[in-house]
Amino acid sequence: MNIFGPLLGLIAPRWKSMALGVLLGFLTTGSSIGLLATSAYLIAWAALHPPVLDLMPTVAAVRFFGLARAVFRYLERYVTHQATLGILSQIRVWLYNAIEPLAPGRLTGYHSGQLWSRLVADVESLQHFYLRVLAPPLVALMVLAVVSGFLAWINHNLALVYFLIFLLAGIGGPVLARLLGRGLGRRLVEVKGRLNTYLVDSLRGMTEIVAFGQKQRFQEQVAGLSHELAAIQGRAARINALAGALTGVAMHLAMWTVLVLAIPLVSSGQLEGIWLAVLALGVWSSFEAVTPLTAVYQHLEEGLQAGRRIFHITVAQPVVPETPSPSPTPAGFQLRVKDLGFWYTTGGQRVLDGIDFTLPAGGRLAIVGPSGAGKSTLAHLLLRFWDYTEGSITLGGRELKEYDPDQIRAWLGVVSQHTHLFNATIRENLALARPDATEAEMWRVLAEVGLLPFVQGLPHGLDTYVGEGGFKLSGGQRQLLAIARALLRNTPILVLDEATRGLDSVTEREVLTALFRLREGRSTLIITHRLAGMEHMDEILVLNSGRVVERGNHRDLLHRQGLYYKMWKAQRQVLVASVPNAILL
């Protein structure tokens, strides 16, 4: 995939600022050259003892360039950074808008941490792509053209030699560094990755490492890798230092060569002696434009990699196409699933096979089974996070695929075991479900799930921050808050996907009782491997390996002594780990 073009495309809207930045960069270096060249001219001319007044324009020029350099540098930095930061800000929004339709279907391969590093770190490193990759070579080229032109006006050989040394320093140094360091970058990334893995293992697995007496072994492994990393970094640094030193040598060498070529010109009278000092200092100071070139390649690589990762996401197509036409209105909320089959990848394993059920409006249905039976996949299909491959799902008599996915989620609420709480207040987390909910309504749903005394007891009540991912709450409280949020939304159909995970069985039973009472007349679908509240269900489907193996109500299924009965028996083995109210208060 060509990355460079699209990356350029991202700055296209601000190309004028960027071009202005390059021009200002050129003027900055130009002023540097001007300052030293006019100074040299001033001194050389003064040595010939002219009338002081004759020197005044040159004195003015020296002062002008002295001021101009600083001012141009300031303007250049300001203009380019303002433009770049603006671009980055737009890229973040653009990237979010590209990620949003992909969730969750297309994002299963990514950790949220990976996406996050795209949105933050990768976008940040694009900053260098614009400031340190694009601009410096353009500035250097302009300097090269103007100085060479000036030298050619004096003598072609001077221009030619200058041109060659400038190119050698600007391109030769970085290329040499790249050749010497070939493969080093990859090894660096690899060793760093391995070190990272070992460090994560060393810290997360510390309990086991210590208890199994392996502390020394792990520390030695980390030390070995850290040492290897240091060795590679040392080599890379020596190569970079070499490239830097070569640039410095080239700068002085250019001055030296120009001197060697110009001296015979002075001797033969082709060039006035006064210009000798000007040439030496002018050429020398023009290499200021070369110094930033040594870093171009490195930043280019980083920028391209960041770009590759970013575009990898943005070219992905969402699994569920957005429905363009306005959604039809369902006639009632009967949910009917017929001969449903699903697999994630064509030719892959069937995750669901021949599922059949009807959830009448106001009905209660449970889907139970061991983990990995395909229960959560079913919930995702109902929410249109994926589209089913075989069979049909109808809502109110029409195929689910005819509805706009966003519209479906307004009718069909879900609480899963991974429901996310945002790092905001309890109030804001609840308001997510219904922005117009009143405070009284919020307190009511909190009371229904049994969180009322807890929230009332908090110094800031509803305005208490729940922390990152809700970490200030216990696992049970988090789950209860998520359930409260779904109750507040009160959709015609509610799907509870392992929603009571993390609750002790007493609380679980209480919450389910409240829930059934509140949702009287509205449909509820419970997906679980914990068999609580099953006696309230109209029908229970037992799922194993993607197929329905048993169905019926609680009593019939126990009677049958099949898989359902075995699950039920195993569950009654578990002791309550905590006294119910201990976690809430």
Binding site: L36, S39, G66, E208, V210, I263, G273, G372, L575, S578
Partner: protein, 591 residues
């Protein structure tokens, strides 16, 4: 910016500081030489009409200085980087050992992600401080001094201009640096806030979608992102303005030097060669000082990272008794199992807790308040109780992760604190509630405690743990990669690997933290059977969550608020109708 502790760190590579200073001296010398040869050459040709042949010696000398200067620059920079690499390596080792000294109990409260970041990126941030800022500091100190030494005897006026403008540069930097530090702190916070917000949104993307709010989030992203842009630009504006002031100082000073020289030249008060020499030195004089300014921010990042690094290093390690581990374990029974290449394990361990008190957070959060019990050889003791009752604390004490504040823990009559950790860890195995799987093969993971075990031994252990069948059904078998970046195993599978570890260790004492729930029905049965096998013939302390486990335990200790409130067998405790009875009743089973 002259961080004492960081420099003490540099002291570990003493020669490095010397080299940095030496390099500054040599560079200074070469700068002066180069300027003088150049001035001589130009002067000879320009004013005295010498040809190329006449100035060759000077030109050759100039060439030599140029090449030599390149060599010195290369050497100096390489050395600085090597030193930085060494220091980073040392810091990383230091921090890791310190975290180990703090132990898993402390670490669990920290965020491991943050610590890993500190160990990798935080340590890397030292690079700029040691390889760029510090050498530049040496150059900025040495080169201008050296140049002044040559300028003053030649021309007082230029010397004075240079002398009085030079200190302004560091002064400026100091003044602006203070402001920049607070600003960069603000900017860092703003970046953190933006990062945190983005992470929150991305983690909750599915939830947002369910509530139909994900599209609206783009506005919030734009708002946060724009705010970050504005803060950054604010910080940069200060940095750029400070740079502007510095540049102005430098360029205007250079211009002043040039004009002053020029005017005196006109009146013949100074020879051309000298004037040109002085003009050449002016940019070389300010150069290192100016570069110091641009490395200042690089150094600042290092100092910031160092602050968190040293904060982590300064967390005091638990002050356990520092008696030299002297005592050796003696077997209570004579039967010991010998196996080639392995220490004979002590069969029959008797562990006694006597009035043990223990508190977290410097004594403010009591966890155990006088717990006494004994664990006899071959006995299974189950700990039950509400969360926070002190069950985990008992295990942490037994594992030596924390020390009792009061009371004693004796192993076969020897205080636990006096046993050498290596010897003690050879006597016990831990089967944790959520076993951690290390990045590596399944084989590596089972071998955790005995890296030299053979495949046959591992397979035997896996069979006893009921793990062999599922391992064999994996495409890679025992070589399947698990852990970070590897195959994700279910809770039940991970549990069985941990039990296999325990079988392979074959220790007299097993510490078992039962999974609360979450295993599916099939795993549940296999795990129960494997655990029953593991308990046979061993001393077992178990945090129990299964009725089966407590029913078959020899003794049950019911913990409540850091005290043992009931003790006895399942039947005895049920008859008593106390805490235990209520606990079992609440679970709805077994009565």
């Amino acid at each position: 910016m002259f961080n004492r502790r960081l420099l003490a760190e540099a002291g570990t590579v003493n020669w490095y500081l010397a080299l940095a200073v030496g390099m500054g001296l040599v560079t200074g010398m070469l700068v002066v030489l180069q300027a003088s040869y150049l001035a001589r050459t130009v002067s000879l040709v320009f004013l005295e009409g010498e040809g190329l042949a006449g100035v060759w010696p000077w030109l050759l000398a100039l060439l030599a200085v140029i090449l030599f200067r390149g060599g010195v620059a290369w050497l100096g920079e390489s050395a600085a980087h090597s030193a930085a690499a060494r220091i980073k390596h040392a810091l990383r080792q230091q921090l890791l050992s310190h975290l180990y000294a703090l132990g898993p109990v402390h670490l669990r409260r920290e965020r491991t992600g943050e610590m890993v970041n500190l160990l990798v990126e935080g340590v890397e941030a030292m690079e700029a401080y040691f390889s760029r800022y510090l050498p530049q500091l040496a150059l900025a100190a040495m080169v201008p001094l050296m140049i002044l030494g040559f300028v003053f005897p030649l021309d007082l006026m230029t010397g004075i201009i240079l002398l009085f403008t030079a200190p302004l540069i560091p002064l400026f930097m100091l003044l602006i640096g203070r402001r920049a530090e607070t600003l960069s702190q603000q900017q860092w916070e703003s970046l953190s806030r933006m990062s945190a917000h983005f992470l929150d949104v991305l983690q909750g993307l599915t939830t947002l979608k369910i509530f139909g709010r994900s599209k609206a989030q783009a506005q919030a992203i734009a708002r946060v992102s724009d705010r970050f842009r504005d803060t950054t630009l604010g910080v940069l504006r200060v940095a750029f303005l400070s740079a502007l002031a510095l540049e102005l100082l430098v360029t205007v000073s250079t211009a002043v030097v040039a004009v002053a020289l020029g005017l005196r030249l006109v009146y013949g008060r100074i020879p051309f060669e000298q004037a040109f020499f002085l003009l050449l030195l002016a940019p070389e004089f300010y150069g290192p000082l100016r570069l110091l300014g641009s490395q200042f921010h690089a150094g600042l990042a290092g100092v910031t990272a160092a602050t968190s690094l040293f904060a982590a290093l300064d967390t005091p390690a638990p002050s356990g008794p520092v008696l030299p581990p002297s005592a050796a374990l003696r077997s209570t029974s004579s039967c010991s199992q010998d196996e080639p290449g392995q220490q004979p394990t002590v069969r029959g361990l008797r562990v006694v807790f006597r009035d043990v008190h223990c508190a977290y957070d410097g004594g403010t959060r009591p966890a155990l308040q006088g717990v006494s019990f004994s664990l006899n050889p071959g006995e299974t003791v189950a700990l039950v109780g509400a969360s926070g009752a002190g069950k985990s604390t008992v295990i942490n004490l037994l594992l030596g992760f924390i020390q009792p504040d009061q009371g004693s823990i004796m192993v076969n009559g020897v205080p636990l604190a006096q046993l050498s950790p290596q010897e003690w860890y050879r006597q016990l195995t831990l089967v944790p509630q959520h076993p951690y799987l290390f990045s590596g093969t399944i084989m590596d993971n089972i071998c955790l405690g005995r890296p030299q075990a053979t495949l046959d031994q591992v397979v035997a252990a896996a069979q006893l743990a009921g793990a062999h069948d599922f391992i064999a059904s994996l495409p890679g078998g025992y070589d399947t990669q698990v852990g970070q970046g590897g195959l994700v195993l279910s809770g039940g599978q991970a549990q069985r690997l941990a039990i296999a570890r325990a079988f392979l260790m074959d220790t007299p004492l097993v510490i078992l933290d039962e999974a609360t729930a979450g295993l599916d029905w099939e795993s549940e049965q296999v795990v129960q059977e494997a655990l029953a096998r593991l308990r046979r013939g061993r001393t077992v302390l178990v945090i129990a969550h299964r009725l089966n486990t407590v029913k078959t335990a020899d003794r049950i200790l019911v913990l409540d608020a850091g005290r043992v409130v009931e003790t006895g067998s399942h039947e005895e405790l049920l008859d008593r109708r106390g805490s235990y009875y209520r606990l079992v009743a609440a679970s709805g089973g077994g009565l």
